[in-house]
């Protein structure tokens, strides 16, 4: 395929990605080295607000941004180098915490707290999702042909449900005296508050994520199981291989590309864990990297937002994901070269 044909095929897709992903990304990259801020002046202002019967008026010094002749806020942009990265990483405090050997202090610094949770979350759910997915796929494949359809349908439900709503429904089931918590309490005969400490919330989040993603893994693996070579399975039986050996030496290697595919998708998705934090409102206990970026970006009630810090933390998040992806990508490179 010559370059022009290739460009014609790929062009529209690449253009959209450039426009809506690459350009914003470049501006984020740039913003992480600059700070844009209004120029403030201090003025004395009298403000009157309603009381119940009369108004209360106060006169105080207020910082107000200066406006230019068009009535727009005058801003100045200034190169600050790695200052924003430093503000996110807080190297001094981190260093102090490490040299004192107190992990507790380290875990109160937002970035490290978020990184710790994001990595734990990703690395614990990964084997669970692959394992559960494989298990469910094998179970479905074992079931009688007539019930496979309905079973696949039910299995897919957790995957298709809108994430926001999935999180909320788990929330209702467990929060306060939600019925599942109430059942647990009745069963264990003790008071349980699942949202009152970090580890239970983390476990809940991970369970939710596995519940949500395992069906996807399962359906992919199930599709893979349909193409396992029956002849080699049968000859393995004749050679006296046990079920477990057949699984290990024939089925798993056959599914390996799919396992890598699912793992990669899951790595990327769980690394940007976000809905769980918001849905379980767990900010007090655990936060994730994407949540941290989001929190910098959301304006407070007075309209301030920390764009530079958000950009820096977004860039740091991206470096992390690239590191995580390097290993699986080396294989893709070999495939790509070998495929042609």
């Amino acid at each position: 395929m010559n370059f022009r044909t290739f460009a014609a095929f790929v062009g529209p897709s690449v253009l959209m990605m450039l426009l809506f992903i690459a350009f914003p990304l470049i501006s984020v990259f740039k913003q992480s080295f600059y700070i844009t801020q209004p120029i403030y002046e201090t003025v004395e202002v009298e403000t009157c607000t309603p009381g119940f019967l009369t108004q209360t008026c106060v006169t105080e010094d207020v910082s107000q941004p200066k406006l230019d002749e068009h009535g727009e806020i005058i801003t100045q942009t200034q190169y600050v180098g790695l200052q924003s990265y430093r503000n996110v990483l807080e190297p001094e405090r981190t260093w102090r915490a490490i040299s004192e050997g107190s992990l507790n202090v380290l875990s109160t610094i937002n970035f490290w707290k978020a990184l710790r949770f994001t990595l734990t979350f990703t690395l614990i759910t990964l084997p669970l999702v692959v394992g559960c997915g494989l298990g469910i796929a094998v179970l479905i494949n074992n079931a009688a042909r007539t019930i496979r359809g309905p079973v696949i349908f039910v299995s897919l439900l957790p995957f298709i449900i809108t994430p926001v709503i999935g999180v909320l429904s788990i929330n209702w089931l467990f929060r306060g005296d939600g019925i599942l918590t109430a059942m647990l309490e009745w069963w264990l005969n003790r008071d349980i508050a699942l949202f009152a400490q970090a580890w239970t919330i983390e476990v809940l989040m991970m369970l939710y994520r596995v519940w949500h993603v395992a069906p996807f893994a399962a359906i992919v693996f199930y599709a893979g199981l349909q193409t396992v070579n029956q002849d080699s399975l049968e000859s393995a039986v004749i050679d006296g291989a046990t079920r477990w050996q057949r699984m290990k030496y024939i089925v798993i290697p056959h599914l390996m590309p799919l396992i890598i595919f699912v793992s990669m998708i899951h790595l990327m998705d769980s690394y940007r864990v976000f809905e769980e934090i918001v849905g379980f409102s767990s900010q007090g206990y655990v936060i994730s990297l994407q949540w941290l970026t989001y929190d910098f970006l959301v304006p407070d009630q007075a309209g301030n937002r920390s764009v530079s810090r958000a950009s820096a933390s977004a860039m740091l998040t991206m470096i992390g994901i690239v590191i995580l992806l390097i290993l699986p990508l080396r294989r893709t490179w070999r495939d790509h070269k070998g495929g042609h």
Binding site: I35, Q37, P38, I39, Y40, V45, E46, T47, C48, T49, P50, G51, F52, L53, T54, Q55, T56, C57, V62, S63, Q64, P65, L67, G71, E72, I73, Q76, S84, N87, N104, S107, T108, N110, R175, G176, D191, A193, L194, F195, A196, A198, F280, S281, S282, Q283, G284, Y285, D295, V298, P299, D300, Q301, A302, G303, N304, S306, S308, R309
Partner: protein, 403 residues
């Protein structure tokens, strides 16, 4: 759902789009509004829609959209719903217009109290006030012979008694959800202690005795609260009240009506509204208002129409029909028992929420930083020092503190 009701609803929606029943004039200028989405705004914007050519966005992202949408030329929304805090960015950017001439022309029915004046110019018209105040279960306290709690020591003592008597495991409810809610709780306590948030040059000044006292009171309360307090927002506290699980909470006045809602509440008529508990200086609460602003980037004719429609939205009819939804600022409002708590707090000298640019950052820093103290990860001075450091970083980035 019956077919008939569906048809009826269809017919109704047709009818409302052609007739302007309750509006005194027919609006011909296309208008849009952007505001928060709580009950009072729903009532007010519904009433505005009766004038025709009006569409309302009750948007949970309004905080993020409003400054941008009002800065656009022409503004994407003509009418904005703000509170004392969300007024700040619009005021700073100069994207809202002074309303004095319009008030003079159309605002005969407005109370002087409703006009929000900044440097002598009317920049917004308030429609309601809101404040957190004490709500308590009359029956539970009376049975144990407890007087109405006046201070937080009283509240804690009452909670101890209720717990001891075995009436409830967790007698206190609190809107302690990490983030804005928790920050607001600290602001209440700290203001009650008479503290000031800032020194000169927007530098933070919360790491002091009042700050520590406020933190300690918050922590003492959590002893009597459901251990999941860090995820409980006002809706959740309201629900706990309705289900009879808690006996006392410092909850928003706009939530009072829900206690007597027959369809949801199991404690109808049993909840009394009282002033917010006293801190060392004033009642530990802050007074908020909600109201409307008009964008600068539109023609004077549009502004005229927008102002008339907005007034129509908060006129006597609306207030009369939704009397208990909020503590309205209107001649038509008859304050009932439900408003007693807010009124008593104000009489006790409660301060208005000190909204400003720096305060926005401070509130966020507080909301994110306090959880570490309540979970025991840090002690009080460290917590406050870390919050101050966090504030300084953000304020420097925003340009509010010079480097």
């Amino acid at each position: 759902m019956k077919l008939k009701t569906i048809l009826m609803a269809g017919a109704m929606s047709l009818a409302t789009s052609t007739a302007w029943a309750a509006c005194s004039f027919e609006n011909e200028v296309p208008l849009k509004s952007l505001s928060a989405g709580f009950e009072a705004w729903k009532a007010v914007t519904d009433a505005m829609a009766e004038c025709g050519n009006f569409s309302a966005s009750l948007d949970q992202e309004f905080r993020e959209k409003q400054p941008e949408a009002f800065a656009a030329d022409p503004a994407l929304y003509q009418i904005g719903g703000v509170s004392n805090a969300t007024l700040v960015p619009l005021l700073n950017a100069g994207t809202i217009r002074p309303l004095d001439d319009l008030v003079e022309k159309h605002g005969q029915n407005l109370l002087p109290n409703q006009l929000i004046k900044v440097d002598g110019k009317t920049m917004a018209v308030a429609m309601m006030v809101n404040a957190q105040h004490l709500m308590y279960r009359d029956d539970v306290l009376a049975e144990l012979g407890i007087e109405e709690p006046k201070t937080y020591d009283d509240v804690l003592a009452a909670a101890a008694k209720i717990k001891e008597a075995g009436v409830m495991d967790y007698p206190i409810g609190g809107t302690f959800k990490t983030g804005w809610n928790l920050g607001q709780e600290f602001v209440n306590m700290y203001m009650g202690e008479g503290g000031a948030f800032f020194g000169g040059g927007n530098m933070p000044a919360i790491n002091n005795d009042q700050g520590v006292k406020a933190l300690e009171t918050l922590k003492a309360m959590t002893e009597y609260m459901d251990p999941e307090y860090l995820v409980s927002d006002s809706t959740y506290v309201q629900q706990q009240f309705q289900q009879g699980k808690i006996a006392m909470a410092n909850l928003w006045a706009s939530r009072a009506a829900a206690m007597n809602d027959e369809a949801e509440s199991q404690v109808v008529g049993k909840v009394t509204m009282a002033a917010a508990p006293m801190g060392s200086a004033v009642p530990a609460t802050t007074i908020w208002w909600d109201g409307i602003v008009l964008a600068s980037n539109m023609s004077d004719e549009e502004a005229d129409a927008a102002f008339r429609v907005a007034l129509e939205g908060m006129d006597a009819d609306t207030v009369g029909a939704n009397n208990d939804v909020a503590v309205w600022l209107s001649t038509a409002y008859t304050p009932g028992d439900l408003a007693a708590g807010a009124a008593a707090s104000a009489e006790g000298g409660a301060k208005a929420y000190p909204a400003s640019g720096p305060m926005g950052i401070m509130h966020t820093a507080l909301g994110n930083g306090l959880a570490d103290y309540l979970t025991g990860a840090k002690d009080a001075p460290t917590t406050l020092a870390d919050i101050e450091a966090d504030y300084i970083t953000a304020a420097k980035e925003a340009g509010l503190i010079s480097n």
